[in-house]
């Protein structure tokens, strides 16, 4: 007995494999379940295997497949094997695949075709048709638009009543097949290991053509929403029960200031495919933070937030972190960013969205120089960004070896520590907060210190410093922008001959002690300290300390005067001077956050993956655990987005300069007068004269 399952995501594989094992233990039908993750388009060799599986399967399940190319291939494989397949069962797929559902006398293709032919169809047809179109619409998100907002909770309630209703449906003929479809759907919607096993057994019993004596339990009902915790043996149906349990266990209160709200996908919890969640939760708790891991119905995360993260309009959490991988409101197929933004503005809690590797394996991500594939970069990064999500870290996913999603430990730790850093920014007295303000200087010459597109940086810094002082930050504000410039540019730069004042000298020993990446950099740039911002024994931090604020100059890539490096197709690492500055900021100056001032610097363009960085990517190594606030020109969403994804920046857009018409100066004004005069006059002689003047003027000013 062979069943092929086309699926998407991380939750189904584990219960499917468990069911296969269990069924084979309990029976001798020799069940083989072959699975194909169809999140991204399959390569030909992968597809060849899938097609072989279809061609000797008895039953095919197609679940959540929305990739067009995969869908067409699956459709044609199904069609080729139509006569042989005993049942094809599609759930939540695109219409083309839904149409392939065929079980006994039930044939969705015929039903969906006959949609408009007759109103007076018998009830069995209309039930199936409604279900077919309901599901097709649901995945397209149309239903939400029609009803104004999604209500999957209600839908799950309906489904939970369905088995009871279905008892009254006769078990024979087409109605029987519809009943079977709905039963299978009920199992699938509550994908607990037991239900997934029942789903397979149910399909085998009714359509497998084998006599297997196996019990089928009615669909096990699982909570729709709730709070999950790996240490608890049940799912909490209310915040109060969770709070009581948690506070007793921790022997301390859950304080909003140190509690992180996590949004988890329901199927992963139900399917017990949640090790990646567990890993992240434990990493966060290790940082002395508490969590409220709420199970969310992914169509509208506001429901779970309202139920578990908010009490009388006030947040119970300091940050909300979505692990669902979809837009906050709207689910996989649409994105109501306006609703999301309104929600977060009102609640005033920052929002992060992390990436679970659902359609590529952890190994594939690790080895890929691109990082996230195009599907994940769009769904799990680009769309949540529109809701205002920041810091798109990968936290876990499916390994090619296992069937359970796993946490990626070093990413979980980095995420947890950065959450703790942001929490400190929320609560620390301003007088204790230390900030590094980073300026750019490109190309490196003194005249370019404070280069940024559209921005006059030194006067801008004066505005910022003055405001920070009034907010209670401990900062020495120079009298004028000119004075600030002198402090940074001149200072002791006469003695060193460097671009700017040297604010700190880091010995090579200290550099080696504090920075774990020195040997990687030495392979590329030679022994520390190198020649950039260094004197053979020490590395120089250019800038000036103004109380708790360190104003500094970011070095460039370091290609200057080094044509060989410039000519290389690929760059390898930042230079020692670059690395040393960020090491200094994080570990010696101990900044609580960094502000990058203006469009744009070099850090976010350092080598590494494009999004979903790993611990070997240089922007990740440079930023470390530092919150990054980046002042960015509002007309540059593209490079700005690179900064968001690769340096975990929160952008603060700034206005572009005032604009005016260029107007006409000197000879251009004369030219316009001549031309206008020519156009006005009707006198031939005058026109001849004017024309000559015009041509002479045009030649003189090279106007063609």
């Amino acid at each position: 007995m062979k069943i092929t399952v086309f699926y998407v995501g991380t939750s189904l594989l584990s219960p499917l494999k468990r069911a296969e094992e269990e069924i084979n233990r309990q029976s001798d039908i020799g069940l083989e379940v072959s699975t194909h993750n169809c999140g991204a388009a399959l390569a030909n060799d992968e597809w060849a295997r899938a097609e072989m599986d279809v061609s000797d399967s008895h039953i095919v399940f197609i679940i959540h497949v929305t990739d067009q190319e995969n869908a067409s291939r699956i459709s044609s494989a199904i069609d080729r094997n139509r006569e042989r397949l005993r049942a094809v069962i599609a759930f939540n797929c695109m219409p083309d695949l839904m149409r392939r559902t065929r079980m006994g006398k039930l044939d969705f293709a015929a039903l969906m075709k006959s949609r408009d032919t007759s109103e007076k169809e018998n009830d069995s047809r209309s039930i199936a048709r409604k279900i077919g179109s309901w599901m097709a619409e649901t995945i397209r998100g149309r239903r939400e638009k029609k009803n104004g907002h999604a209500n999957p909770a209600q839908y799950l309630k309906l489904i939970s009543k369905m088995p009871a209703i279905l008892k009254f449906v006769p078990a024979t003929g087409r109605l029987g097949d519809i009943k079977n479809y709905l039963f299978l759907f009920c199992y699938f919607l509550q994908p607990s290991p037991a239900n997934i096993r029942s789903m397979l057994v149910y399909a085998i019993k009714h359509y497998g053509g084998v006599k297997a004596r196996m019990e089928i339990a009615p669909p096990e009902q699982m909570p729709v929403v709730g709070i999950y915790h790996p240490d608890a043996d049940k799912i909490f149906d209310s915040f109060d029960t969770y709070r009581k349990w948690r506070e007793r266990k921790l022997k301390k209160r859950l304080e909003p200031a140190t509690t992180i709200g996590l949004l988890l996908m329901r199927p992963q919890i139900i399917s017990e495919a949640r090790q990646h969640y567990d890993g992240l939760i434990r990493a966060i708790e290790r940082e002395k933070l508490s969590v409220i891991p709420a199970i969310s119905t992914f169509m509208d995360n506001r429901d779970a937030c309202r139920e578990f993260f908010i009490e009388e309009g006030k947040a119970r959490v300091s940050q909300i972190v979505s692990l669902t991988g979809f837009s906050f409101v709207g689910g996989p197929a649409m994105n109501d960013a306006t609703a999301s933004v309104e929600f977060f503005k009102e609640l005033d809690v920052p929002f992060r969205s992390l990436v679970s590797l659902d359609v590529q394996t952890i190994e594939n991500w690790e080895q890929s120089r691109t990082g996230l594939n195009a599907v994940q970069a769009a769904m799990q990064v680009a769309i949540p960004e529109i809701d205002g999500a920041v810091e798109p870290f990968v936290f876990g996913g499916l390994s090619g070896r296992g069937v359970q999603p796993e946490p990626i430990e070093d990413r979980c730790q980095r995420i947890a520590r950065r959450l703790a850093r942001w929490n400190r920014l929320q609560t620390a007295p301003r007088s204790a907060v230390r900030l590094a303000i980073v300026m750019f200087c490109f190309p490196p010459n003194k005249g370019n210190i404070g280069t940024a597109a559209d921005l006059d940086v030194f006067p801008s810094l004066m505005e910022i410093l003055a405001r920070l002082k009034s907010e209670g930050y401990s900062v020495t504000v120079p009298a004028t922008a000119e004075e600030l410039r002198k402090v940074v540019l001149e200072g002791n730069s006469d003695e060193t001959g460097l671009l700017a004042n040297v604010a700190y000298r880091m010995s090579v020993d200290e550099y080696r002690r504090l920075c774990p990446y020195v040997s990687d950099i030495e392979r590329e740039w030679g022994s520390a300290p190198g020649v950039i911002n260094a004197n053979g024994r020490e590395l120089f931090m250019l800038g000036a300390h103004l109380g708790n604020i360190f104003v500094c100059v970011q070095p460039t890539f370091g290609y200057e005067g080094d044509p060989m490096r410039m000519l290389a197709a690929e760059s390898a690492t930042p230079h020692h001077g670059f690395m040393a500055l960020y090491t200094y900021i994080e570990k010696v100056f101990r900044a609580d956050a960094v502000i990058h001032t203006g469009t744009h610097g070099a850090l976010e363009f350092m080598p590494g993956k494009q999004a979903g960085l790993s611990s070997s990517c240089w922007p990740d190594r440079l930023m470390g655990e530092l919150p990054n606030v980046y002042l960015y020109s509002v007309n540059n969403p593209s490079e700005g987005t690179i900064a968001r994804r690769r340096s975990y920046a929160e952008l603060i857009s700034y206005l572009t300069p005032p604009v005016e018409n260029a107007g006409l100066h000197r000879e251009l004004a004369t030219m316009k007068e001549l031309l206008a005069a020519y156009r006005r006059t009707t006198d031939d002689a005058e026109r001849d004269q004017l024309y000559e003047a015009i041509e002479a003027q045009a030649r003189q000013m090279n106007l063609t």
């Binding site: 030909n44 929305t66 067009q68 190319e69 219409p95 397209r140 005033d348 809690v349 920052p350 120089r369 691109t370 195009a374 599907v375 769009a378 205002g388 942001w422 929490n423 920014l425 190309p443 010459n445 005249g447 404070g450 597109a453 006059d456 006067p459 505005e463 006469d494 410039m566 000519l567 197709a569 502000i595 363009f605 590494g608 494009q610 002042l631 509002v634 007309n635 969403p637 987005t641 968001r644 603060i652 857009s653 700034y654 206005l655 572009t656 300069p657 005032p658 604009v659 005016e660 018409n661 260029a662 107007g663 006409l664 251009l668 031309l675 020519y678 156009r679 041509e695 090279n702 106007l703």
Partner: protein, 595 residues
């Protein structure tokens, strides 16, 4: 003499005089009208007149020109029509877009256009000085514009004014440092999308699957056709192959207008799946296209590659699909070229690769670094560097396997050999081609790379942020930029208000202009004459620059000397020795400053 000029002119600008050549007086009218249009183009171009200071509202900014341009765009998404269109309609003229297009060839249209602009301008002035109602009444009386329509525009302008008078940037910064939620917002030119205000928000990109959007597809076709017809006018034939530079910035702001242009050049349109995602292409039949399918070599920025992964796949798929169409070779250049390459011994997968970018995890061509640091001897090195950095192919082979940045130097070189036109879409006046070094590193870089392998291609840029999109040659664009910015006292003084940073801006503008000499030899010598005259030979100006920022002044003078030294500018001996003297003086001064 006049005839000579006309010939020269017609060659240079591509205007064809054909049958009119027999009638000098008509030619004269045309010539005057053409020059007049050129002057208006300069006069009306929006330029920045300073720099922004973070957190400060631009209360004292001269607002009228900006409002006039903002009011000149239809904004169907807000149910607002352009004031200029309303006026043209009320006056029973052809549409303002038509007037813009035809004013260079018809005196009547020019007069009408000027009338529309002057009425609109007066209305905006009344709006600024009094209020919406009065401006709307004026338009009703003067141009028969329904109050209901014009009030919608003024209400948008009032909102814009209000938002420009406040500024939330510092509040947002303080909030971010307090770990609060920062609201996301779109990023664009203010004229293009006034909803970028208020600033102080977390700028976001777009969903790549939505690209190119239906409206981008609609807007792209006429621009792509204009590009081809400009080439047709100038050479009498279609370019067989175009190297197109694709960036993230314009494709985010326009939801993929340049992507849609590339597709249209190949004669395809995006096809959306049942979830509305653009994942495949639809063939535009040849009898509907009415021209050959153009071979498009896409040199893509690392940023586009990162932000538009699914679009990279779409573009690759488009090229492969078109290359496989069973069509006559003279109507499908992509097929012709892949066929040729296969007959030379290549595989289809090799011959059909058209999407090139940096190696994964790398960005930029480094051509800008090379130019800024004067690290080159022969300009061909710049083209080679472009190829070295950009020869990584992206797509999916016939086996369905993804390749993400496979080094393919020979394939890029082979594709560039056939290129006759290099092209980039521009949709911003806020970031011009001499404002930043990225335009010359990309469009200049690819132009130089083609030049080494074939001949210097024709270089075009579109200007799509305008009620009537235009296609200009690189030379026209550079000279327009120089006249409106570098050589324009309004721009100069705007920058110099910012002292130190302003001088740096002037120097960058000179250096980026020079970048177009280095990569494309596209700067006329008079530009350098004028730059030297304005900033160095003018004692007063030189004094100001040297006092405010001697470092940048020195770099600027050095750059002029470099332009002369490399043969892009044949300055006379006196000017050169003066430049030399000033350069040495500034060096001494800086040495003195730093001891």
């Amino acid at each position: 003499m006049i005839f000579h000029d006309l010939f020269w002119y017609s060659e240079k600008s591509g205007q064809r005089f054909g049958k009119d050549m027999t009638n000098p007086s008509t030619d004269r009218e045309q010539r005057v009208l053409h020059l007049y249009e050129r002057v208006l183009e300069i006069e009306q171009r929006l330029i920045p007149t300073g720099l922004h200071v973070f957190g400060l509202p631009s209360a004292d900014r001269e607002i009228r020109d900006l409002l006039q341009v903002v009011a000149s765009f239809d904004r169907p998404e807000m149910g607002i029509r352009a004031l200029t269109e309303l006026v043209a309609e009320g006056m029973s003229f052809p549409s303002y877009q038509t007037l813009l297009k035809e004013s260079a060839s018809s005196s009547e249209r020019m007069t009408e256009r000027e009338q529309v602009e002057s009425i609109t301008r007066e209305a905006i002035t009344i709006f600024i000085e009094t209020e919406s109602q009065r401006a709307s009444e004026f338009l009703l009386n003067r141009a028969n514009v329904a109050a209901e329509q014009s009030l919608k525009v003024f209400s948008m302008l009032a909102g814009l004014l209000h938002q420009l008078e406040t500024n939330n940037e510092l509040d947002s910064l303080v909030r971010a440092l307090g770990g609060r939620y920062i609201e996301p917002g779109p990023g664009a030119d203010i004229v293009q999308n006034p909803s970028i205000l208020p600033t102080g928000r977390n700028t976001h990109a777009v969903n790549p699957y939505a690209v190119p959007s239906p409206s981008a597809v609609r807007r792209a076709a006429p621009v792509a056709e204009a590009l081809l017809s400009r080439h047709l006018d100038e050479t009498g034939r279609y370019p067989e192959s175009i190297a197109m530079v694709l960036w993230g910035i314009d494709n985010i702001k326009t939801e993929g207008e340049a992507v849609a242009q590339a597709l249209h050049l190949m004669g395809v349109a995006p096809r959306r799946d049942s979830l509305g995602r653009a994942t495949d292409v639809e063939i535009i039949p040849l009898d509907k296209l009415n021209r050959p399918r153009i071979d498009v070599v896409m040199t893509v920025s690392g940023i586009f590659r990162d932000l538009f992964g699914s679009t990279m796949a779409l573009l690759d798929r488009a090229a492969r699909t078109v290359a496989m169409l069973d069509e006559p070779a003279d109507m499908n250049y992509l097929r012709r070229h892949t066929g040729e390459q296969i007959s030379e011994g290549g595989s289809f997968d090799e011959a059909a690769v058209r999407v090139f970018s940096n190696a994964a995890g790398n960005y930029g061509t480094n051509v800008n670094f090379m130019v800024l640091e004067s690290q080159w001897e022969d300009s061909r090195e710049l083209g080679d560097l472009f190829v070295t950095r950009k020869c990584f192919a992206y797509g999916r082979d016939s086996e369905g396997r993804q390749f993400e940045g496979r080094e393919a130097r020979a394939l890029l070189e082979r594709a560039l050999e056939r290129v006759e036109v290099t092209y980039q879409n521009i949709d911003s006046f806020e970031v011009g081609i001499t404002d930043v070094d990225h335009y010359f590193e990309y469009l200049g870089g690819v132009t130089k790379a083609v030049e080494k392998r074939a001949a210097r291609p024709r270089v075009y840029l579109s200007d799509t942020l305008s009620p009537a999109a235009k296609v200009r040659t690189l030379e026209e664009t550079i000279h327009l930029e120089a006249r409106t910015k570098l050589l324009n006292p309004r721009w100069q003084e705007g920058m110099l208000k910012h002292g130190f940073s302003g001088v740096a801006e002037i120097e960058h503008q000179v250096t980026n202009t020079f970048g177009w000499s280095a990569t494309a030899d596209a700067v006329d010598e008079w530009v350098y004459d004028k730059v030297a005259e304005t900033f160095v030979l003018d004692e007063e100006m030189l004094k100001r620059l040297s006092a405010l920022n001697p470092h940048s002044a020195r770099v600027m003078v050095g750059r002029l000397l470099e332009a002369a030294g490399r043969g892009y500018w044949s300055a006379n001996g006196e000017v050169l020795s003066r430049l030399q003297e000033v350069f040495t003086g500034l060096e001494d001064r800086i040495e003195g400053v730093s001891g």
